[in-house]
Amino acid sequence: MAAIATQDMDQTAAAGPAASDRPKGKGTVELRGVTKRFDGIAAVDHVDLTVPGGSYVVLLGPSGCGKTTLLRMLGGHATIDEGEFLLDGVRTNDVPPARRDISTVFQHYGLFPHKSVRDNVEFGLKMRGLPRDARRRRAEEALTFLDLTPMADRRPRQLSGGQQQRVALARALVTEPTVLLLDEPLGDLDRLLQLRMRVELRALQRRLRITFIHVTHNQEEALAIADQIVVMQDGRIQQVGSPQDVYRHPVNLFTSGFMGDNNVVPGRVSAIGDGEVWVEGDGLSLLARHDGAGVAVGQNLHASVRASSVSAKPAIANGNALPERPNEVVATLIFLEYLGDIVKLHCRLANGQTVVAKRAENVRAWEGLVEGEMVRLEWEPEDVQLLLA
């Protein structure tokens, strides 16, 4: 595996199974109103999505949100009840799995336990009727590509989790797909290996220049790996955007809650100024940098502030009165959660609501902050996100 991570990402993999001379933009996936129902209930509900060829897209959502069902439809393992799936402009709804230029890395890998690593990798080529020599050679290339040559004659159960994952990758890639589907590919690995493998998956995708569509429920994984994150809930797409976009500017309550550590406050628009919107929340007032589009005075909405955008310092001992300025509040520090690289401050407002502040772990971040004492919390207008959707 090290070979993948360390090799120059732009280097064309002459020995690899990937056809790097493939025209750019191949592996473009277009979904139009794609729907899947189980017993009348929509698991995937009118999903429209375009995935540009050669990009790394992560479908992110909690379990039961429809992301795996959507992936299975792309792979041809579930029928599409409604809508259209175009692969490079060609309707692919009813093409059987093996005829699609799409391969899947299944959850828990689904390796053939009775076959050697080499035979696992060769399987797809054998099914396509390639002569023995040709498939031997191509399997060998894929094995080399994924650093599996030393264990080619072993059975999957004799391998570690990370090695099994590479076998699953080799087996999926040996048929030279233009789209690779990955269903929770890191789910079976321990945390340290997850961190390593996600970097390597990313590097692999860069090197192959094919489309990766990766399903996960892990926000951090999605942020680390994706070109585009597709946030899903209740069978619908909640938000599509770059990791920065989705993280910094969640558009609705679900995304804001799901992306973790957002302070979400219900409130009412009290004034709209030049590029600014004032929101009176429950127990605190917020000033948001916003062009005012889609917002009206008196409107009820939610505002969210990332925990990492909230700074905290000790409040002046006696001055417990609420500050007049917006985007500032005095609260009681009820719990200081030390997480190693960051420190999380759980604070309670006078009305009982909780605000979380997150600071990088350094001396200044929590100097003088003591559980049970009053703290002054502050944030910038740029960091206030209005959830309109």
């Binding site: 799995p97 391969s103 299944f106 689904g110 053939f112 336990p113 009775h114 099914m127 087996r171």
Partner: protein, 315 residues
Amino acid sequence: MSNSSSRSVTADAGTARPASVSRHRLAAGKGTPGDWGLAWALLLAFPTAWLLVFLIIPVAVVVVVSFFEPTLSGFNRVFTLDNYRLLADSDVFIRTLSNTVINAVITTVVTFLLGFWVAYYLALVVPDLRRKFALFIIALAPFFTSFLIRAIAWIPMMGREGLLNTALLNLGITSQPLDFLLYSDFAVRVAMIQLYLLFMVSPIFFSLSTIEPAILEAARDSGAGWWAILTEILLPLARPGIVIGAVFVFVLSMGEFATVRLIGGGKTSSVGLGIQNFVTYIQFPQAAAAASILVLVTVAGVVVLFRYGRVAEGL
């Protein structure tokens, strides 16, 4: 840690510690397996004694008796090979033995051909676990009745004036009752297949149940059609179950005598039935010799099955 070791640690930390720790570990290492060894010995003593008294010793006695000289009503304790020589020279016995082996092989093969699909349906087609096991229990239902009743039930079904013949006559398909339906090798085989089918289905069912759905999807994803999935994935993965099922059915069929007697009706025979006849005529040494040969042939069959079934490899 024991008292002494912790005291030595506090007394002079640096030097005493390693010695006392290692001593302590050694003592624990010696004590633990010994205690468990005794517990295991007690646990295993009863089944071992059971096997010894009710299987090993009787088999040994049978083998010993097979080398004794027969008399009109028993045997003399004099060594002889005549019992085996007699059987080997007997066309009837050789024919009976080969017939028994052929019946057992046919029963094993046919129960596999039929049973595999039942197991396949239960394990991989029925979607949810509860329905799966409900159907499995229903499939087991014949075993709630006695073996004899199930065998006898074939007579009103397959007899000359049985349901099947009556139906065939009335429908004008045949002009006279079909004799081979009962009291024939055919009837015996059909009955044995029905009686032993579940011994084939159960282990295959359990083997197939362990196959993750993702494995089949991955095969389909790679372009495998149903034939390739059957030959490349399902049969190899079910192999342990198939071999175990085959051993069950083969061994049971080889020892068969009640079905042969009831449904064969004297028109056909098996070694088991032959042994019973020897016993009826108080020819214990011949019975013992026939039994020993039967056991030998059966074990040979099982060895072949395990050899070519490569059971351990698939587990």
